[in-house]
Amino acid sequence: MSVQSRQATVAHRGFVFDLGSAAIDLARSGWELYSVFARTLYFVARGKREKGAVLRQMYEIGNKSAFFLTITMGFIGMILVYQSGLQTKRILPDFTLLGATYLELLVRDLAASIGALMLATRVGAGIAAEIGSMVVTEQVDALRMCAADPIDFLIKPRFIASVIMTTVLIIWAAAVAYVAGGATAYFAFDVPWRTFLNIQLVDHGDLITGLTKCVAYGAAIPIVSGYCGLSTFGGSEGVGWATTRAVVNSSLAIIVLNFFISAAAFVVFPK
């Protein structure tokens, strides 16, 4: 809170000042993020291998998020089909392509993006809270004293685990959302399973786009949240702030990445 209060005291110097300082902050954070990313990649290639660390993180990130992701993606699947079904009913009462279109959207975008947004809250907050607590309790400094680079030791395993598990979880999430959507279509609009189960609209472009997004989001979440965690200062409120920033910034990163990947896919795989 005091952090904010201080910000508040600085905030009376006019809009241009605010804008300028925001831009500088943004640029600086961008550079630092990039440096964390580059160092993570470096350590992925050359760092010390700590036995079991990646596996443990895969369990933390993957298995522990599965329940949460199943619930949310199940509901989002139902909502999406319900809403598009309502529209279809209103405009052209023909449900034959509902399932196919839904699957295409799911594969190309929704499964990855919404799933990753969910993971950003669950995993991103977790990573930032954990690393942030280690920073404020000076455990990270202790690590440095033991000549272990915090990025190698803390972020690298999470990075590898997240890239793998995000992809796995999103494939699972897509399946859950598709089944939930199919059930909704069946119960709410009497669309038979056979009609709903139509994969004719999904092509390799959609698959590649979807998988690219999985990997990009999987990489972005631990980097952004790890960065937020490592830059924690102050006591418990600092941890809170770091966690908040991790959630917000990873979500933003996902939305922005989604925009760029989708636009690129639109150009590369024209329909």
Partner: protein
């Protein structure tokens, strides 16, 4: 007049207070001492309803208060102020706003009037120059003074101090001691002080109670404490590492 009667309190399976009884008289400076973790802070938090006893009664000015609900405790809390161990100022507010808060909430003062009044109160503890600073920008001693100013805004009859001199430098600590003594002498405020600062205990205490293993070990004046030859008391008041206290 405060009476603790047979107070029992346990956290989970671990009993902290086990049948503690004593009285505090009006206008005195009453010290509660004991080793760390013996339940001193727990005990005084019972008085203002931050904690509820598992058994026993607490009487305040002829009223049993330990069974009151949260809203029923509000009048009690206006009568008994508390200064927390870490000062515990609201760190989203400036010092003046901290002090103004009770005025605003209980005296029905407008924000602006409350702030002016708060600055007057801060002058009493010599903190008027820091009125618009945030607590995180101040040192421990300064925060403690603001916390005391805040506790006194409602002119309470009783003030509870939870380790007021811990983590203060000796100079600040003695100033706080002096303040507590003056409250009692000049305003007739009853102070209950939780402490293990020997210097404070023997300079300003009227009476002392010592807790040991959840029970009252000894109650009396500082002179009586010095005179008693119980090894536990002696080890504590002389601060020896060797002895029967674990």
């Amino acid at each position: 007049m405060i009476s603790f009667k047979h107070i029992k309190k346990a956290f989970g399976p671990k009993p902290v207070l086990d049948d503690v009884s004593f009285d505090v008289k009006r206008g005195e400076v009453f010290f509660i001492i004991g080793a760390s973790g013996v339940g001193k802070s727990v005990l005084i938090k019972h008085l203002i309803g931050l904690l509820r006893p598992d058994g026993g009664e607490i009487w305040l000015d002829g009223e049993e208060i330990s069974r009151k609900d949260e809203l029923g405790m509000m009048p009690v809390r206006k009568k008994c102020a508390m200064v927390f161990q870490h000062s515990t100022l609201f760190d989203s507010m400036t010092c003046a706003e901290n002090v103004a808060l009770p005025l605003r909430k209980h005296r029905g003062m407008k924000t602006r009037d409350a702030l002016i009044e708060a600055k007057n109160r801060l002058e009493v503890v010599h903190m008027q120059d820091f009125a618009d600073r945030f607590p995180s920008e101040l040192g421990d001693g300064m925060r403690k003074r603001v916390a005391i100013a805040r506790a006194l805004t409602l002119d309470p009859t009783y003030v509870l101090f939870d380790e007021p001199t811990t983590s203060l430098d000796p100079v600040s600590a003695r100033r706080v001691d002096k303040l507590i003594r003056e409250l009692s002498d000049k305003l007739g405020v009853t102070s209950i002080v939780v402490s293990h600062d020997l210097a404070s205990i023997f300079s300003i205490a009227d009476r002392i109670v010592m807790l040991y293993r959840g029970k009252v070990k000894l109650m009396g004046t500082p002179e009586e404490f010095k005179a008693v030859d119980d090894p536990i008391v002696q080890q504590f008041i002389h601060g020896r590492a060797q002895g029967p206290i674990e």
